[in-house]
């Protein structure tokens, strides 16, 4: 198995990764205006992805969901192969079979991705059990990313209960982005429900500002240290916001403009830029250069994806059975 890339060492690399994730998502949004297959973008949630993934090691595994581009890119996935997958081409991570919604990349330790909400939660305990029973690299843990909506599924409680009872090395990462497709979170659950429910299962729970990459990293590192030492699970609720619609294209007509404004003013990338500027680690010129470089790499990735061949129809039933 190929090693996952080294943990990004600095706040500046985290900014770079967030810019890359956003540029990637925006590029797809542009394609979707012209009929490319839709995606659930992670725009606004980049800090959750880079913060948690920065705290993981290459021996750790990730289980994720439909809104996974940030997790994948933060883990070192190549935008060109992600784009090829979204466009249904052979060079995609899953040979075009997945499309955007269930991209796994085993070589990166992103092992199982399900777009069935709650599917990620149902599988993660098993991946963690296998780690514990010696199938992974020694000391490896599992991080499972899921949304606030997934916390409404019964499987949420089933997974938490099992992980606690069996002392599984599992980090639950709930990206509470306020929306569950076209329904606001507050229409489906009490305000503090997620953390309270998790606490009821008897594991350490921390609620974190999910738009602050450094705060996410710190909380994740802390939770992961607990998991590695004690061999038992931990839970992070990352409070964040889905800045775009559920699935592109989506005009967000059902979203209150004031809410969007509120969260755009708390944009995770702007936050990281402000921090780095305050620390003297970047200036406007540096930022512009970085953005240009990111744009260029996304343009190259797109050209690669668009020229990647379509899978041959004869391969339709390949990989159905092992």
């Amino acid at each position: 198995m190929q090693q996952a890339p080294k943990t990004p060492p600095s706040p500046l690399t985290r900014l770079e990764t967030m810019l890359l994730i956003r540029a990637y998502e925006h590029q797809l949004v542009e394609l979707q205006k012209n009929g490319a297959p839709g995606t659930c973008t992670s725009v606004g949630q980049e800090a959750c992805a880079v913060g948690v993934v920065a705290a993981l090691e290459s021996r750790d595994r990730i289980v994720t969901n439909h809104r996974s581009a940030g997790h994948l890119i933060a883990r070192g996935a190549e935008p060109r192969r992600l784009m090829a997958e979204v466009l249904g081409r052979v060079d995609g991570y899953c040979g075009g079979r997945s499309g955007s919604l269930h991209i796994s990349a085993r070589e990166l330790g992103v092992v199982l991705t399900s777009t069935i909400v709650g599917g990620e939660l149902s599988m993660a305990p098993g991946v963690a059990l296998a780690q514990k029973m010696g199938k992974g690299e020694p000391g490896g843990i599992v991080a499972v990313f899921f949304g606030d909506g997934a916390a409404c599924e019964g499987i949420f409680h089933e997974a938490l209960n099992l992980a606690v009872q069996w002392q599984l090395p599992l980090l639950f990462v709930c990206e509470n982005n306020q929306w569950q497709a076209f329904v606001h979170r507050l229409e489906t659950m009490p305000d503090n429900a997620i953390a309270n429910w998790a606490k009821g299962h008897g594991l350490p729970v921390e609620t974190v500002d999910g738009n602050d990459a450094e705060a996410v990293l710190e909380a994740a590192a802390h939770a992961i240290a607990h998991i590695r030492q004690g061999g038992s699970p931990a839970f992070l609720e990352l409070v964040t916001y889905r800045q775009r619609g559920h699935f592109e294209p989506d005009d967000q007509a059902y979203v209150a403009p004031a809410e969007l404004d509120y969260w755009r003013a708390r944009d995770p990338i702007d936050r990281q830029v402000q921090r780095l500027k305050a620390q003297g680690l970047i200036d406007d010129n540096g930022l512009t250069a970085l953005e240009r470089q990111t744009q260029a790499s996304i343009a190259t990735a797109l050209a690669f994806a668009q020229t990647s061949p379509w899978p041959a129809p004869e391969t339709l039933t390949d990989h159905v059975y092992a």
């Binding site: 499309g99 777009t115 997934a150 497709a181 899978p311």
Partner: protein, 328 residues
């Protein structure tokens, strides 16, 4: 006389809901985003009868079952058919069995809607034609319409039925327009197939958007002097055996075409039906053109390979007729 108006299948569904909710105060709608999607129904009937639910299919379906047994008539929108697996316990074990197991004490007048089908490149966790799974489930009925008028008429019949009805929506049809009557008493009874085109040489049986594929194939066959009859099942359970049998007795040949996997599917059932009840009329083997035993891929190129295309229907028909000729 009531007027006919042009509308999409999505509008026809909305109209059916509106008419039935107006007619019967026990009818109500719930699902993940139902109130967001049907704002106009919330305005007309209030938030009690058009509900956004938590994201939890098992409890949506379970609640519908409990409410149905207690006198309400819930319609639940489970979004995409594959998500119904979470609702399976309520639909299969409760709604399908507890009338029988209680010795007939309860009835379960509920409708569960789910979208499926190719055309959107979303992959197998959204696109899985699982209708035959429910045909295999005692106690529930299954419908899958092919055109806007049927969406309206069948949904109204499903809501009025005293049994659980699975209402499958072929995604590719939602935006297609057609003529729909505004008559609030217009229903299409469950278990009635429709002959969409009459012919003498072969019977093409299908449902949902594949009916259009068969009609296209029938037009191409007509140019070659072959007359195909096209039957739209509309209801998969109860199945309109007589319409299929009558047609096959006339044409002597049967081809069943659907996107769903062939194994233990609707086509297999129809093959068994005609070989049991119309064997002497058959002039050739029953042909099944179905989706593969494979999850549906996202890639457009592979997704298209799943879909029964008109050319495949035409070629298979020519082969069947050729074989029949050489036998004769």
């Amino acid at each position: 006389m009531s007027t006919m108006i042009q509308m999409t299948a999505a509008q026809a569904i909305n109209l059916a809901l509106r008419e039935e909710m107006r007619r019967d105060p026990d009818v109500f709608l719930m699902g993940e985003g139902s109130a967001t999607k049907h704002r106009d129904l919330v305005d007309a009937f209030g938030p009690d009868r058009v509900r956004n639910t938590p994201l939890a299919e098992a409890i949506i379906a379970g609640t519908a079952v409990g409410a149905a047994a207690s006198g309400l008539r819930p319609v639940i929108d489970l979004l995409f058919a594959p998500f119904m697996t979470y609702a399976m316990d309520a639909l299969v074990n409760s709604a399908g069995k507890l009338r029988y197991l209680s010795g007939g004490q309860f009835r379960f007048p509920l409708v569960a809607m789910g979208m499926t089908g190719t055309g959107w490149c979303v992959g197998a966790q959204h696109n899985h034609n699982i209708e035959a799974m429910f045909v295999h489930t005692p106690g529930v009925k299954v419908v899958m319409p092919s055109e806007p008028a049927d969406f309206k008429g069948l949904l109204k019949a499903a809501i009025r039925d005293d049994n659980p009805v699975l209402f499958f929506i072929d995604l590719g049809l939602l935006c297609q327009e057609g003529e729909v009557t505004e008559d609030p008493d217009f229903i299409i009874p469950l278990g009635k197939a429709a002959i969409r085109r009459s012919g003498d040489d072969i019977t093409l049986v299908s449902y949902a958007k594949t009916v259009a594929v068969c009609l296209q194939a029938a037009r191409q066959l007509a140019e070659r002097g072959i007359s195909a009859e096209v039957v739209d099942l509309r209801s998969l359970k109860p199945l309109d055996e007589n319409t299929v049998l009558d047609s096959v007795r006339k044409t002597g040949r049967l081809m069943v075409v659907h996107e769903a996997s062939g194994l233990c599917g609707i086509a297999a059932e129809l093959a068994a039906l005609v070989s049991t009840k119309a064997f002497p009329s058959l002039r050739g083997p029953v042909v099944r053109l179905t989706g593969p035993d494979a999850p549906i891929p996202s890639s457009w190129a592979l997704e298209q390979a799943v879909v029964p295309q008109p050319e495949r229907v035409v070629n298979a028909t020519l082969e069947l007729l050729g074989a029949a000729h050489s036998v004769n």
